[in-house]
């Protein structure tokens, strides 16, 4: 309880309130720009937090994440182009509302639903994370190994596209994490005589390249085409009490969906918004109104995607497994300050962790207030041409990667990862599992070696404790469900039941 109160006291300091407000505002603008993702924005902003206290820096990044979730709905509603993938379902009812002259109302519903989704997920974060953290504290190397294996298989197999590619990306990430000095034997591993590699490949440098350079290259791949005309906001934004009451159940349901979707590594706002929207339609008495400019459709999608933020932070904070690409980058924000992910976040670094949790809660309120003021201004940023944004992203990447260690080699490494990420994108290999693999690599290696030392080299140790055995079984199932064998068994089962 003391830690929770300390976190609250820390978050309400003037500087922290300022960085949360700044992060949220920036997130709204970035989210509103089609073509820019929240993950990329967090990666680019990461270097700015180096000079800050870790709690302030991570709070700023989390606020940006939350702000971007709402910001994505601005261009979805006004331009029919989702600012972020998480706002894809918002287009279905948001844009028709704007076409009917109710753009302000659509944005107001989106803002209110985002607030409710965000607050519910913050409450879930504040209650579930400490409880799960306590459980995680009892974990030894055997369980940590199983958690790392589960993290990489789930994020790989649930990534969009082919599970084979997702898991391959994750395993390559694990391999990259092993480059450098081996902590057990003290011998250099895969350094090929290069002194730069003795410290390993910084995953912060890699993620700046992987998430930002491909984005910059994608922006110049095609001509901007005709400038889309944004619908103007002429009506009142805030929904009436009656309207709010009619959408309450939908917003609550979508919020719960968002929290649970966020909890599962590999799934994020893009999954949650469709899940929330479909469930709202399924339960609605006015199904036919969905897709024609129904405010409930906007509320369902937006409550779900904002609720993902708190949900995704739960496994990130308690277990050190990022729930999404954006939380992987957030974890990078902690690692920059020498704070390693895992159960110690709830003990040794509890002040930072609880400050972050309260910051997420406060960022929702800032998002609502700033959204009311900034939404009209955010319309103008949607008009910035992609071809102007692309070189600007590159400059931020170069400065950002240089400032970490004051090293130009880091900039070259960042660019190399950027090019690799671009080609991965071209054949639909997701980059997020690679980053997660780079985070979990050392944890996997250390916990595996410690466990094998404890068991005199017997691999059966991983099946002796129930927690580890269950987690590894889930990991195995997550891999098997991605194979043709699973489809074959499913078909056979269907045939026999028929």
């Amino acid at each position: 309880m003391n830690d929770i109160m300390m976190g609250l006291l820390n978050v309400v300091s003037p500087f922290n309130l300022l960085v949360i407000a700044a992060g949220t505002g920036l997130g709204i603008f970035v989210g509103a720009m089609p073509g820019l993702s929240a993950t990329m924005a967090i990666a680019l902003l990461l270097p700015i937090t180096f000079g800050m206290d870790p709690a302030s820096g991570i709070s700023m990044l989390a606020s940006l994440y939350l702000g971007a979730m709402y910001g994505g709905s601005i261009s979805a509603i006004l331009l029919r182009t989702p600012g972020t993938p998480a706002a894809a379902a918002t287009v279905l009812d948001g844009y028709p509302m704007a076409q009917q002259g109710r753009a302000g109302k659509a944005l107001g519903v989106s803002l209110t639903a985002s607030l409710i989704g965000g607050i519910i997920s913050s409450i879930a974060l504040l209650t579930i994370a400490p409880a799960l953290g306590k459980v995680a504290l009892s974990f030894g190397p055997v369980e940590l190994f199983a958690i790392a294996v589960l993290g990489i298989t789930i994020i790989g197999s649930l990534s969009s596209g082919s599970p084979i590619k997702g898991i391959l990306s994750g395993v390559v990430g694990l391999m990259i994490a092993l480059v450098g000095m081996d902590p057990i034997s003290g011998t250099p591993r895969f350094t090929f005589g290069q002194i730069y590699l003795f410290n390993g490949i910084s995953f912060i440098i890699a993620l700046i390249g992987l998430f930002s350079i491909p984005q910059a290259l994608r922006l110049v791949e095609k001509d901007d085409g005709l400038q889309k005309v944004a619908s103007s906001i002429k009506d009142k934004m805030l929904p009436t009490f009656k309207e709010l009451k009619s959408m309450t159940v939908t917003m609550l349901r979508s919020s719960v969906i968002g929290v649970f979707t966020g909890l599962i590594p590999g799934t994020g706002g893009d999954t949650a918004c469709w899940f929330g929207y479909n469930e709202a339609k399924r339960f609605s008495k006015e199904k036919e109104k969905f897709g024609t400019g129904h405010p409930e459709g906007v509320a369902a999608a937006e409550a779900a995607n904002n609720a993902v933020v708190g949900g995704a932070l739960i496994p990130t904070i308690t277990l050190g497994i990022p729930g999404s690409a954006a939380t992987a980058v957030l974890l990078g924000g902690l690692m920059v300050h020498g704070i390693m992910p895992g159960p110690t976040l709830m003990t040794e670094h509890s002040l930072i962790t609880y400050t972050l949790i309260w910051a997420v809660m406060l960022a929702n309120i800032f998002m609502f207030l700033e959204g009311l003021v900034l939404t009209r201004a955010a319309v103008s940023v949607t008009k910035i041409p992609n071809k102007v944004i692309a070189p600007v992203i590159v400059i931020l990447c170069v400065i950002g990667s240089f400032t970490i260690n004051n090293s130009i080699v880091d900039v070259f490494v960042m660019f190399t990862f950027g090019i690799i990420g671009y080609f991965m994108d071209k054949i639909n290999i997701p980059t997020a599992p690679m980053v997660v693999g780079m985070i979990l690599g050392m944890m996997l290696d250390n916990s595996m070696n410690q466990s094998l030392l404890m068991s005199d080299g017997s691999w059966m140790i991983f099946l002796r404790t129930p927690v580890s055995a269950i987690l590894l079984l889930i990991a195995l199932i997550s891999v098997l469900q991605a194979t043709p064998l699973f489809g074959f068994i499913k078909n056979r089962f269907k045939k026999t039941t028929i």
Binding site: L174, D182, K222, P385, V388, I408
Partner: protein, 148 residues
């Protein structure tokens, strides 16, 4: 390059990477080599599976009529990537203040993003903005080159 060839190339690269690392792991003590060897085997299996999956999808696609994708401007992407590489290579010796505005002006002009005077204005104001943010406000280093 068609989709199958792209996947073939990616599979070959990851396969070679895994083999090289597997072979190199024999220079390591057993404790340091356990995980890399296991991961190398997994990469080998998944690389082959990725190619097999691409092959299967290619055959399936041939039977279905698919809408053609909007083509991308490959040459423009290549030139832009080359500009970035040059920017990265020159920023250390020449310095942030010289190379950054030059990169921005050249890139904006090449991409025909805006008029030249606007490009110059954007380049100069963004260069100053980044300097103020990173150096003056956050006290972080930037490569000064000739200006150090």
């Amino acid at each position: 390059m068609n989709n199958l060839a792209k996947h073939g190339l990616a599979s070959a690269i990851t396969l070679i990477l895994a083999i090289v690392l597997y072979v190199d792991s024999f220079n390591l003590p057993p404790a340091a080599a356990n995980l890399p060897r296991a991961l190398a085997w997994i990469i080998i299996v998944l690389s082959l599976a990725m190619f097999a999956e691409a092959l299967y999808k290619e055959r399936k696609k041939a039977q279905e009529n698919q809408e053609p994708k909007e083509p991308i401007l490959v040459f423009r992407v290549f030139v832009f990537a080359a500009m970035i590489a040059l920017y990265v290579a020159l920023i250390k010796p020449l310095g942030y203040f010289l190379v950054t505005p030059l990169f921005l002006i050249t890139a904006l002009a090449y991409l025909e993003a805006t008029r030249l005077w606007k490009a110059v204005l954007i380049a100069l104001s963004f260069t100053v903005f980044c300097y103020l943010l990173f150096v003056m406000f956050l006290h972080l280093p930037i490569p000064m080159g000739l200006f150090s």
